[in-house]
């Protein structure tokens, strides 16, 4: 029995962290945390941390929302990712995310 929690966390009016987490009981079986920024009235993914197919990784996207690169990273909770987003915001695009 899967329970999914979908959250939109507004960091600023034009920046959000969208979180989708799936739970089996209390065990988190999937997470996807997408930092989106608004341009011209539309939301574009900028950075995404997720565990799709059991692989913890972080993706970066270009200005048109296309996947630019993907690196491995270690699983961290939503609160930590929110802290990263609030601290570094759009600068995340130029950082080595696997080290954060």
């Amino acid at each position: 029995m899967t329970r999914v929690v979908r959250q939109r966390i507004w960091v600023r009016r034009d920046e959000v962290l969208d979180a989708v987490e799936a739970f089996d009981g209390t065990r988190r079986t999937f997470y996807g945390y997408t930092y989106r920024t608004m341009r011209d009235g539309s939301w574009f993914p900028t950075v995404r941390w997720d565990s799709w197919e059991g692989q913890d990784h972080v993706d970066r996207y270009d200005e048109s929302g296309q996947l630019k690169d993907r690196t491995a990273w270690r699983d961290r909770p939503l609160a930590d990712v929110l802290k990263l987003v609030k601290t570094f915001r759009r600068n995340l695009l130029g950082m080595d995310l696997s080290e954060l």
Binding site: M1, T2, R3, V4, V5, R6, Q7, R8, I9, W10, V11, R12, R13, D18, V20, A22, F30, G32, T34, P45, R48, D50, W52, D59, Q66, L67, L82, K86
Partner: protein, 147 residues
Amino acid sequence: MRVEVSRDLAKGDLTREVAELESRHRTFDALRQRVFVERCADPRAVDDYVVWKALRDEGGGLEERTVFDTPDVFRALTPRRVEMLEYLQHAEVGSIKDLAARLRRDYKNTYDDLAALEAWGLVALRREGKNQRPVSHVTSLRVNWEK
């Protein structure tokens, strides 16, 4: 400081959720093909797959939360707009014009207030025929200063 908004999802909301998933991806199998076989890199498709799978599972469920980790949201919460949110929570309206009439306000001010609330995800304007029907996305709104 966090402003936490909760929204109770009724059966109708879940039916609408599935209808929206179908309009975006046609069928569950088409979406599964896209995320597994084509290994698409679209974050929305992956999240949609996770949500849709849970909704198809017996006993599966979806919870929705909105958190404002910025005090900027208070710029949108004027007394009139809070009153509007409260009204929409307890009454169904057919259109923006209908809401304006019921609140005895003019159409433009009502529209502007709804647009400001929609920009923060606090209401949705659902297209129904020629009308846009305002729907509240707020069941409760709580300010939390706890660490």
